[in-house]
């Protein structure tokens, strides 16, 4: 184990996979000399050369098309989208090409590609650079959608994403990039589709992912002082979804709170709530609560953004409301 940042962990996973498999290559804006806007691909150009670290024009459409074609022919592209918001530009390539090709060709081809992207607000980056759009992808059969809340998870899940034979949307969080934590050295794999219980508790289950895991853990700490034991489940992988994990937890607690940074309306939390009602109805001892952003664009003004984002206090209040 060594202590590295979330950003370094993502890069380490990519680097190790590039060493392991020469079919893996990176393409994206400024991934070469610049090492990406946030440094995810720093020094990889020097190590692997311009054949495998490809700078692309400012066209998300072209980049995803390149990846779909390369993947169909047997390469394993990893493409980067610095801001998740920009993925709106290339939705046809993702939804209608990457996600459909394997199915429409009767399984005769595979599309082993990863789109590594970053989501999240908190840096006053404005409405077009702060969104959490995971629900756009979880709605599409044929895509896997994963998130990471810790450096170790970032490494283990990125490696699995690259090895997966399907298109995977790997959603990192800009607010977590500088967080450091213990990360296993060398090859480290976390299978997709396995949630992780980040904290055990017997009174309330919180289902969350990405940066909200840390916020939920902080709220759980406050709630423990009030005598409420919170179990914090980090889904990590939204699709495939580890529903057994939270249903089991609900069996113990009878109470479910879903926390995500994205807006609530049509968010992935609604899917969790629907499954919990459908398959876990008899386990429920309280209504299901969601803690999400309001149904409005992310404000640019930092005070307004602070008010807009989910925080410990909102989570704390939501859990307490189950008892009042």
């Amino acid at each position: 184990m060594k202590k590295i940042t979330y950003l370094q962990a993502m890069r380490e996973a990519v680097r190790l996979e590039m060493i392991r498999d020469t079919n893996v290559f990176i393409a994206g804006q400024d991934v070469g000399v610049m090492g990406s806007s946030f440094g995810q691909t720093a020094k990889l150009l020097q190590e692997f050369g311009p054949q495998r670290v490809v700078d692309t024009p400012i066209s998300e459409t072209a980049t995803v098309s390149l990846a779909v074609g390369a993947a169909a022919l047997g390469l394993r592209p990893l493409i980067t989208m610095e801001f998740m918001d920009f993925m709106a530009v290339c939705m046809d390539e993702i939804i209608n090409q990457a996600a459909k090709m394997r199915y429409m060709l009767g399984g005769k081809t595979k599309i082993p590609m990863v789109i590594e992207t970053l989501c999240g607000g908190g840096s006053s980056a404005g409405a077009q650079h702060s969104q959490c759009l995971e629900a756009l992808f979880t709605h599409i059969p044929g895509l896997k959608t994963i998130t990471a809340s810790t450096p170790a998870d970032a490494k283990g899940l990125m490696a699995s994403a690259i090895r997966d034979d399907n298109p995977v949307i790997f959603i990192g969080h800009r607010g977590l990039l500088a967080n450091s934590g213990e990360v296993p050295e060398g090859e480290y794999i976390i299978p997709l589709g396995k949630a992780d219980i980040k904290r055990s508790g017997s009174d309330v289950t919180i289902v969350t992912w990405s940066a909200m895991v840390q916020k939920s853990l902080a709220a759980a700490e406050l709630l423990a002082k009030e005598g409420i034991g919170v179990e914090v489940i980090d889904l990590r992988s939204l699709i495939p979804l580890d529903k057994e994990c939270f249903l089991n937890s609900m069996g113990k607690t009878g109470r479910l709170v879903i926390v995500h940074e994205a807006v609530g309306t049509g968010g992935f939390g609604a899917e969790i709530a629907a499954i919990a009602c459908d398959e876990g109805f008899d386990l429920l001892d309280a209504p299901i609560k969601r803690v999400t952003a309001p149904f409005t664009p992310v404000p640019f003004n930092s005070n307004m953004e602070k008010e807009y984002l989910v925080n410990e206090d909102k989570i704390f209040q939501a859990v307490k409301s189950l008892y009042e």
Binding site: L284, D285, A286, L322, Y323
Partner: protein
């Protein structure tokens, strides 16, 4: 429309209940929540509250009738409400002998709603509702403590313990006040736990032709083993008692003789696969029998710890229904009083045997032609002769004596 008063299910094992006393007469005005009648079961007596406001239209179950759970007891409704139709209803077909689960009466369809009454929706969480259903509890009587008065899982659990456990409501009877003129005696109402014990014992006495076999056992090795186990125990560590050891030994002897670990029900002899040992615990107000489940599979420290916890809970009235249910054999140890060698315990139904344990006392006995002093303990095995004959009981005692003589192997075994 009229509201039915039905025989409630007050405990997991309750099949029938007896109407002890009505507090209201037909035609009396009643209020929801008011004491309406007393129901007694094999375990407890409970006062049943009136389920609705109105007039007690009709009593269908007079005092002292025994009826199945769910049977119709009375109707509460509006004045003048369709009494003729109600009169047509009876509990025929609901009698104990005919059906354990009552037939659905047709009354519901026949009653003409005279005063339309809005059905009150009771707020209850899904898990609480499911639990109430499993426990056969009518949740209409539970007061919810959750947000907006919602009934939660905890409410159902607490209610279940209250109506089925030992802390039942003491029935308001004419008490000392009524007897002020008689200073020569004190009146203790025969209710609650005292009455339950009394009724259970009477029932067992009437039901089971009982034999008791007595034997005096040399417990030198058992006493020595106990001293060895406890010798090095530190402050705060479990100290194993003779009762703990006996629970384990009896459980293991039952494993060898499953024909003792039986119960008679519905013309079948049920040979219990689980060996759950009840241990009689004396209380100020009577006695209770918490159960060590699967005692044969637990190591001695686990048995000891569980028994201590259960005994503590018994003293503070905190035993749950689950902790006093499911026994397959009972041990009653009077040895600690130092005044009893043998006695004839009454079987704790629906079990078929009970072991009475007497004091350990140094006694001269003959060993290999010599008179020596040995610690001897009295054992009295009472059993139900309907299902257990004298010989198998004697065989079981033989196994048990053998274990008491060579306890180490059994204590060390975990299965």
């Amino acid at each position: 429309m009229a509201v039915k008063v039905i025989m409630p299910k007050l405990g997991l094992t309750m099949m029938t209940g007896t109407v002890v006393q009505w507090y209201k007469k037909e035609g009396d005005a009643v209020r929801k929540g008011e004491d309406l009648l007393d129901i007694s079961t094999e375990k407890i007596t409970n006062t049943i509250e009136c389920p609705a406001d109105g007039i007690l239209l009709k009593i269908l179950a007079p005092e002292e009738t025994e009826l199945s759970v769910g049977a119709l007891l009375a109707y509460v409704g509006a004045a003048g409400e369709c009494l003729d139709t109600l009169n047509a209803c009876s509990n025929e077909g609901n009698s104990v002998t005919a059906h354990v689960i009552p037939l659905k009466t047709n009354c519901e369809e026949k009653i003409t709603p005279v005063v339309p009454q809005e059905k009150v929706r009771i707020a209850i969480t899904p898990v609480a509702k499911t639990l109430a259903k499993e426990l056969n509890i009518n949740y209409e009587f539970i007061v919810g403590t959750g947000p907006r008065g919602r009934i939660t899982r905890e409410d159902v659990e607490k209610y279940a313990v209250r109506v089925t456990g030992e802390q039942e409501k003491v029935v308001q009877q004419p008490t000392a006040a009524a007897f002020v003129a008689s200073p020569t005696y004190e009146i203790i109402p025969y209710t609650g736990m005292r009455k339950n014990i009394g009724e259970n014992m009477s029932r067992s006495w009437n039901l089971a032709p009982k034999i008791t076999e007595h034997v005096s056992v040399d417990v030198s090795n058992l006493v020595e083993l106990r001293l060895k186990i406890n010798k090095d125990s530190k402050e705060g560590e479990i100290k194993v008692t003779v009762t703990d050891l006996l629970v384990k030994l009896v459980a293991c002897a039952l494993q060898l003789r499953p024909n003792i670990n039986v119960s008679l029900a519905d013309n079948n002899i049920k040979v219990n696969k689980d060996i759950n040992i009840g241990v009689a615990v004396a209380l100020d107000s009577g006695l209770t029998v918490p159960v060590i489940k699967n005692a044969n599979k637990k190591n001695i420290f686990k048995v000891s710890q569980e028994l201590k916890e259960l005994a503590n809970k018994a003293q503070t009235g905190k035993l749950s229904m689950d902790e006093i249910s499911g026994g397959t054999f009972t041990i009653s140890n009077l040895g600690v009083y130092g005044s009893v060698d043998f006695f004839t315990p009454i079987i704790n139904q629906p079990e078929s045997a009970i072991l009475g344990v007497g004091r350990i006392i140094d006694t001269p006995v003959a060993v290999a032609g010599q008179i020596v002093i040995r610690p001897m303990m009295g054992l009295s095995l009472s059993f139900d002769h309907r299902v257990i004959d004298g010989a198998p009981a004697a065989e079981f005692l033989k196994e048990l004596i053998n274990f008491i003589d060579k306890p180490l192997r059994v204590i060390l075994s975990n299965e």
